[in-house]
């Protein structure tokens, strides 16, 4: 029997009621950006926003609850942006779409900052075992610019160590999902792939929790996918942008024990029906006998949605599993 659970990915929209408060406290534009050194007043607004957003997930009966990353200015680069060895420079466009991030330029050693660990500590005060979402090492190395490590390989290795250090600082969690859109958007060379896989293996070995490598805006290339299968990690797919090619991977190369499937579109206000979600989930389960856990997910973070649609989409995820949970 396949266990089905609901979750969502990454960054959430900041509740409308906090925006005014934050802009009052932070002032406008440049000064309003997250540095990691916010004062207690600002942090208390984020704390109540976090509490609110966890309540939203509970109301929607989401199984795997996440922190929501409301402090983050962008959906992936944040852990670098707040790091003391990183300069945040000009605005860059994410993956040819309409989301932006400040270019993180690494100018010193990427030591452990514990920034995201702190967010999860605070989450743990509200619920037991939240799940953690963090950008993966390959994606971070693709988004960032190196002015310290000197070669692409040592930069990627350093990112692996950085991610490992950060996630080892986390409190007890449920799952760890590493976001790796760059694996689809710009697949690694063989050499980089090996370094990436080694990092993932090391991270996996140091964690007792399950780890899921999640991509979006495309699908894995076949080599990366079969290597990930071999590592025996959970694998996350974007079924909003790719259906047939994901199913082909599952059919032809096999399936992971845990498959996170992004079926709710984080980039469109159109709210998915129960039937639309069910069709994809059924097709995924039909592909492989190996699948033990299906995490029904959004394909990306939900921050790019207006608040009302965000709430509706959480509702779709939660109620789907409630009605379909005992497949």
């Amino acid at each position: 029997m396949v266990q089905i659970m609901s979750s969502s990915l990454g960054m959430y929209p900041l509740p409308d009621w906090t925006k005014d408060e934050l802009s009052k406290l932070k002032g406008h534009q440049r000064d309003g950006l997250i540095s990691g050194n916010e004062n207690a007043l600002i942090n208390s607004v984020y704390d109540s926003a976090r509490e609110f957003i966890i309540g939203e997930q509970q109301n929607a009966e989401i199984d795997i609850i996440i922190e929501g990353q409301l402090r983050w200015d962008d959906m992936l680069a944040h852990p670098l942006i707040v790091h003391e060895s990183v300069d945040a420079r000009g605005l860059v466009r994410y993956y040819d779409n309409n989301n932006f991030y400040r270019e993180p330029v690494v100018t010193g050693e990427l030591t452990v900052s514990g920034d995201v660990a702190q967010e999860l500590e605070k989450t743990s005060e509200l619920i037991r075992f939240p799940s953690a979402i963090f950008p993966g090492p390959y994606t971070l190395s693709q988004l960032a610019t190196d002015e310290y490590y000197g070669s692409e390989t040592s930069f990627l290795e350093a990112m692996g160590e950085f991610v490992q250090g950060e996630v080892n600082a986390f409190p007890d969690i449920n799952h760890l999902i590493l976001l790796e859109p760059s694996l689809s958007f710009n697949p690694p060379s063989t050499e980089h792939k090996e370094i990436f896989l080694k990092s993932i293996e090391e991270i996996k070995n140091t964690l007792k929790e399950e780890i899921v490598i999640q991509t979006y805006w495309g699908t894995f290339d076949r080599e990366v996918y079969s290597d990930l299968l071999e590592l025996d990690v959970g694998i996350g797919f974007d079924f909003v942008t790719e259906v047939e090619s994901n199913l082909a991977l599952l059919n032809e190369l096999g399936s992971p024990k845990t498959a996170s499937i992004g079926v709710v579109n984080g980039q469109n206000t159109n709210v998915e029906s129960f039937g639309e979600v069910k069709e994809i989930v059924d097709r995924v389960i039909e592909t492989g006998a190996d699948i033990q856990n299906v995490i029904v997910n959004s394909n990306t973070g939900l921050f790019y949605l207006p608040e009302n649609k965000f709430t509706e989409k959480l509702g779709v995820l939660g109620s789907f599993v409630k009605n379909e949970g005992g497949l």
């Binding site: 309003g32 950006l33 962008d74 605005l91 309409n98 932006f100 469109n268 206000t269």
Partner: protein
């Protein structure tokens, strides 16, 4: 090639050479206009609405005057009556719905609208704006319109098969709007497509949109295409067969790093050449702007060069925006004089 430019040459133009000067569109809004808008949004009464409308008209009049005082050959009203470049149109086109702001990054939000049913033209978009401006302006007016690809790209699409189909539908509506405007006397239209050149393949969609947009538009109407923030190597030289007269680009902000892109093959359209950095409040000297204009002459001869800022000036203070325009026009007139005296070599 047809000549849509000479109609904008002022009768009393001082030099033999004529390099057209204009601006892209937006201009800093006077503080009292924002106050009037806030009062209207707070009270939404008939009284506050009338005051806000009056303030918008006054603001347009003032900005037109400032553009004329700066010496521009073709002016706009600084888009005083428009909010965002997508919202303004989405509020008028039938089939759109607004659900609230979405996060772009940091604390930058955008009230991204959703297309929830088949789109139709709705109420006229810019006719009222143009008719008012026509009464005020002594110089010719350019009308900027957000292009269909950008409208599509910056909307949630809940109805159409894909972004392409939505873009084509919007292009038909833009065509209808331009016909209305041309019927009222507009002779210079600028299609704004900041979303162009952000993905490798979008140049094809925009070409097909422009075919629809320009369908049945008389030959004497000048059509420009403004593109900013993009990677121009993705669209050049492919854009040279777009059905437009002028291609307007942002170059000053990137310190002309992309200039060489346009030298690969002869630039057979007019170029709207960005010589003012709109993200920097430092006022470029006349000498500096002159140097930049000369870079434009490396691409096209003077009679195909349009001089303008990189993009809309709305992020600057009003004083800085005005001074930048003044220096831009001065520099252009000086280059014309030097051309008249044969001191500048013309390529081609």
């Amino acid at each position: 090639m047809r000549d849509t430019r000479s109609q904008f040459r002022p009768i009393d133009h001082p030099n033999d050479h004529f390099i057209l000067t204009t601006v892209v569109g937006s201009y800093p809004k006077p503080t009292w206009l924002n106050q009037a808008r806030e009062l209207y949004h707070t009270h939404s009464s008939k009284d506050s609405r009338e005051r806000y409308n009056e303030a918008k008209n006054d603001a347009s009049s003032i900005v037109i005057k400032e553009h004329e005082d700066a010496g521009l050959d073709v002016i706009v009203d600084g888009e005083m009556k428009r909010n965002e470049m997508v919202e303004y149109f989405a509020e008028r086109i039938r089939g759109y719905e607004f659900n609230g702001p979405v996060k772009v990054w940091g604390h930058n939000y955008f009230d991204k609208p959703s297309v929830v049913e088949k789109l139709s033209y709705g109420e006229p978009w810019l006719l009222e704006e143009y008719k008012y401006n026509m009464k005020i302006a002594e110089k010719p007016i350019k009308v900027p319109i957000t292009g269909p690809y950008t409208l599509s790209n910056w909307s949630f699409n809940e109805f159409y098969k894909d972004e392409v189909e939505l873009s084509y539908e919007l292009a038909e509506l833009v065509n209808k709007e331009i016909k209305n405007l041309v019927g009222s006397g507009v002779r210079y239209i600028q299609i704004d497509e900041p979303a162009l050149a952000t993905t490798p393949e979008d140049h094809k969609i925009v070409r097909d949109c422009l075919e629809r947009i320009t369908e049945g538009i008389p030959d004497n109407v000048r059509i420009g295409l403004h593109v900013c923030y993009g990677d121009y190597s993705r669209i050049f030289p492919k854009i040279l067969d777009y059905p437009v007269d002028e291609f307007d680009v942002e170059l000053a902000n990137g310190n002309y790093a992309q200039l060489d892109v346009f030298k690969k093959v002869p630039f057979t359209k007019d170029i709207g050449f960005g010589v003012i950095d709109v993200h920097d409040s430092r006022i470029e000297s006349v000498e500096e702007v002159k140097e930049r204009i000369l870079k434009g002459l490396e691409i096209v001869p003077p009679d195909r060069l349009t001089v303008s800022p990189d993009c809309g000036l709305k992020l600057l203070s009003r004083e800085v925006a005005y001074k930048k325009m003044v220096n831009m026009v001065k520099a252009t007139r000086m280059v014309e004089e030097e051309l008249d005296r044969g001191e500048i070599e013309i390529v081609e």
